[in-house]
C-alpha cells in the first residue's frame, strides 16, 4: 500500500501533526510493503529532513508560502495516479482538513476524518474516530479502493529513522487561486493550542481581557498555549483562535488547566481526551470537576499566580 502525506510547515518548522502522519500511519502502511511519499509546498529549508521522519520520497513543489487548494489538489492527484497511492493522509489543521476533503472528492475515495486509530483488515482500511463531538466513537470500514484520512494531533508517534530516498523539486506554475488577495499573519507569535503539550485555559471566570494576564504568565512558565472557553471568546476578551470546544479547537494535550471554566458539554467536547485535566474554579459544583484529575476550589486570581510561583520554584 503506497501512502501520500501532506506536510505542512510555517516556513521554518514542519507541523508536528504532519510528522505524526508520516510516522504513525505510514508505518502501518509500509508494513504492508509500500512507499511513503511526502508532499511539500511553498518554501522551507532542508526538505530532505523529511526522509528521516518516514518519507521514502519527497515531492517538493516550490512557490510562495500560501495555501492554494485547487492547485495543490491537482498536483497531488497527478501523483496519486502515477505513483499508485491508495492511502492519503493529512494532519488535522484547517488547511489539512480542507485539502483532504477536496482530494477525497476528486479521486472518489472513502474518508476517515480526525482518526485516532487505524488498522488494515484484509484489503480494507478500518478507522476509529470520534463522532457527536467526542461523545461516542465509531469503528468505520472504508469501502472504496482509495482512502483519505485526517489524523488527530497528539495521537500518532513521530519516528526517527535513517534517511534514504530523494527529494524531487519543481516550481509551482499555474496558480489558480488568484482570488486570494492577502494573508494577514498572526499578530502575536503564540503557540497553537492544537499542537501544544500543555494548555492553560480561561473562561468567563477570568472576568475580562486583563483577567487572562495571570494565565498568560503561567502559560509562559510552562511553555504552554493559551486556551479559552466560548464565553470568554464571545465576550471579546480573547481571539477565537484560542477557543477550545465544539465550535473551537479540539485538543488533547498532556496537561489541560481549566481556570474559571464551568465545564459545559460543548467545552468538554474539545478537551476531554487531554491526558491530565486540572480544574480551578470557585464553585465546588462546577461540572468541570467531574472530569478533572485534580481540582482546586478557589479564586483563580489567588490560585493561578501562586501556581506560577510554585512551578517557577520547582524549576
Amino acid at each position: 500500500m503506497n501512502t501520500g502525506v501532506f506536510v505542512e510547515h510555517d516556513g521554518k518548522e514542519f507541523k508536528k501533526v504532519s510528522l505524526e502522519a508520516l510516522g504513525g500511519v505510514s508505518k502501518i502502511a509500509s508494513e504492508k510493503s509500500g512507499k511513503t511519499f511526502a508532499f511539500l509546498f511553498g518554501e522551507i529549508e532542508n526538505p530532505e529532513r523529511l526522509l528521516s521522519k518516514g518519507a521514502d520520497k519527497v515531492y517538493y513543489f516550490k512557490g510562495q508560502n500560501l495555501y492554494i487548494p485547487e492547485t495543490f489538489t491537482k498536483l497531488i492527484q497527478e501523483k496519486i495516479e502515477s505513483e499508485n497511492i491508495n492511502l492519503f493522509i493529512c494532519g488535522s489543521t484547517i488547511n489539512g482538513r480542507d485539502l483532504a476533503a477536496r482530494i477525497c472528492a476528486k479521486i472518489s475515495a472513502s474518508f476517515g476524518e480526525e482518526i485516532v486509530d487505524f488498522k488494515i483488515e484484509g484489503d480494507k482500511v478500518h478507522v476509529k474516530r470520534p463522532v457527536f463531538a467526542g461523545k461516542a466513537y465509531v469503528w468505520e470500514e472504508l469501502l472504496r479502493e482509495k482512502v483519505v484520512v485526517v489524523i488527530r494531533p497528539n495521537v500518532f508517534q513521530v519516528v526517527e529513522k535513517e534517511g534514504k530516498g530523494d527529494v524531487e523539486e519543481k516550481e509551482i506554475e499555474d496558480v489558480d487561486r488568484l482570488k486570494l488577495k492577502d494573508l494577514k499573519p498572526k499578530e502575536e507569535e503564540e503557540p497553537d493550542v492544537t499542537e501544544a503539550d500543555i494548555i492553560v485555559s480561561g473562561g468567563r471566570g477570568v472576568g475580562g481581557p486583563q483577567g487572562f494576564e495571570p494565565l498568560r504568565k503561567l502559560a509562559r512558565v510552562l511553555k504552554a498555549a493559551l486556551g479559552a472557553s466560548r464565553a470568554a471568546v464571545d465576550a471579546g476578551w480573547i481571539d477565537h483562535s484560542h477557543q477550545v470546544g465544539q465550535t473551537g479547537k479540539t485538543v488533547s494535550p498532556s496537561l489541560y488547566i481549566a481556570c474559571g471554566i464551568s465545564g459545559a458539554m460543548q467545552h468538554l467536547a474539545g478537551m476531554r481526551t487531554s491526558k491530565v485535566i486540572v480544574a480551578i474554579n470557585k464553585d465546588p459544583n462546577a461540572p468541570i470537576f467531574e472530569i478533572a484529575d485534580y481540582g482546586i476550589i478557589g479564586d483563580l486570581f489567588e490560585i493561578v499566580p501562586a501556581l506560577e510561583e510554585e512551578i517557577r520554584k520547582a524549576g
Binding site: 510555517d10 495555501y67 487548494p69 489543521t93 484547517i94 488547511n95 482538513r97 480542507d98 477536496r102 477525497c104 472528492a105 475515495a109 474518508f111 476524518e113 470520534p130 463522532v131 457527536f132 463531538a133 467526542g134 461523545k135 461516542a136 466513537y137 465509531v138 469503528w139 470500514e141 469501502l143 482570488k179 486570494l180 488577495k181 494573508l183 494577514k184 499573519p185 498572526k186 477565537h240 465544539q246 465550535t247 473551537g248 496537561l255 458539554m265 460543548q266 467536547a269 476531554r272 481526551t273 491526558k275 491530565v276 470537576f289 467531574e290 472530569i291 484529575d293 485534580y294 481540582g295 482546586i296 476550589i297 478557589g298 489567588e302 490560585i303 501562586a306 510554585e310 512551578i311 520547582a314
Partner: protein, 252 residues
C-alpha cells in the same frame, strides 16, 4: 439570484448521549434535535446576501427523514423563502451518499450560491461541501469566518493557523462556514408564524446512491475517573498540586 443553504438536523450538542448497549448506534430516545449550528451561520449569510442585493431567493434544502422539515422551518423562520426536503426513509450516516443526493438535486437548479456548514456535528466529517464542489464544478471556500458584500463581489475571511486569508469571490460559489464573526439571527415570533405558511417541497429519494463507508460499531468515549479535589487550605493546595503533577502524573 438563487441562494441555496443546506441545513441538517442534528442532536442538540448540549445534552449527553448514550451509546446503545448493543453498540449499533446511539440511543435516540427522547433526544432533542437542533439545526446544525454551522448551518445557522450559513443561513444568516444567505439572508444577508439577499438583503444586500435587494432581490433573490433563499432556499433551505435538507436531506433526511420527515423530521427534517422542522429544521427547514427553522431556516424559514429566520427568513428563508422556501424549503426543499430530499426525503429518505432512514437517517443516512454516510456523507458521500448525502452529497450525491444533494448534488443530483442542485445540478438542475442553477444555483448562484450554495452556503453550507463546515461540518455536521453528528458524524463530524466536513466532506459534503468538497463533494458538491467536485460534482457541480463550483469553486469552494471552506471554513469561512466572515463575509463582506461589496458592489464588485464578496470579500471572505478564512482563519487558519497562519493568519487570516482575505479572499475575493464571486458567484457561482460554494461557501462552508466556520463559527463566524457575525451572529445568526433568532427567529422572531412573526418569523415563526410566517414559516408555517411558506412552501416546503418534498422530493422522495427512492434510489439511494452507494455508500463509501460502513460503520461497524459504536463505543462510548473512554471513561474519565473522577479525580481528587485537593482539599487543603491555600497555599498548601497549590503546593500539593505541583507535587502531584511532578510525582504522580510526571508532567512537569
Amino acid at each position: 439570484m438563487k441562494i441555496f443553504v443546506t441545513v441538517k438536523r442534528v442532536p442538540d450538542t448540549g445534552v449527553p448521549l448514550r451509546v446503545k448497549s448493543d453498540r449499533t448506534g446511539i440511543d435516540r430516545e427522547g433526544l432533542p434535535y437542533v439545526i446544525n449550528p454551522y448551518d445557522e451561520y450559513a443561513t444568516e449569510a444567505a439572508l444577508r446576501i439577499k438583503e444586500k442585493i435587494g432581490d433573490g431567493e433563499v432556499i433551505a434544502v435538507s436531506c433526511g427523514t420527515e423530521d427534517s422539515i422542522e429544521t427547514i422551518r427553522h431556516a424559514l423562520a429566520m427568513g428563508a423563502d422556501r424549503g426543499v426536503l430530499l426525503k429518505v426513509n432512514d437517517e443516512i450516516t454516510d456523507s458521500v451518499q448525502t452529497a450525491d443526493i444533494l448534488s443530483d438535486y442542485l445540478k438542475s437548479e442553477n444555483p448562484d450560491f450554495i452556503l453550507m456548514g463546515k461540518k455536521a456535528v453528528d458524524y463530524d466529517r466536513g466532506l459534503v461541501p468538497a463533494y458538491l464542489s467536485e460534482k457541480l464544478g463550483f469553486p469552494l471556500e471552506t471554513c469561512v469566518t466572515n463575509m463582506e458584500i461589496k458592489d464588485s463581489g464578496f470579500v471572505l475571511e478564512r482563519e487558519t493557523e497562519y493568519g487570516v486569508e482575505i479572499i475575493e469571490a464571486r458567484s457561482p460559489l460554494i461557501i462552508s462556514f466556520e463559527k463566524a464573526k457575525f451572529e445568526p439571527r433568532f427567529p422572531s415570533l412573526r418569523g415563526v408564524m410566517m414559516a408555517k405558511k411558506k412552501p416546503v417541497d418534498v422530493n422522495e429519494i427512492s434510489n439511494l446512491p452507494a455508500n463509501s463507508t460502513n460503520i461497524l460499531s459504536y463505543e462510548p468515549p473512554p471513561e474519565r475517573k473522577k479525580g481528587k479535589i485537593i482539599d487543603l487550605p491555600f497555599p498548601d493546595n497549590v503546593k500539593e498540586l505541583v507535587k502531584l503533577l511532578k510525582e504522580e502524573s510526571k508532567i512537569i
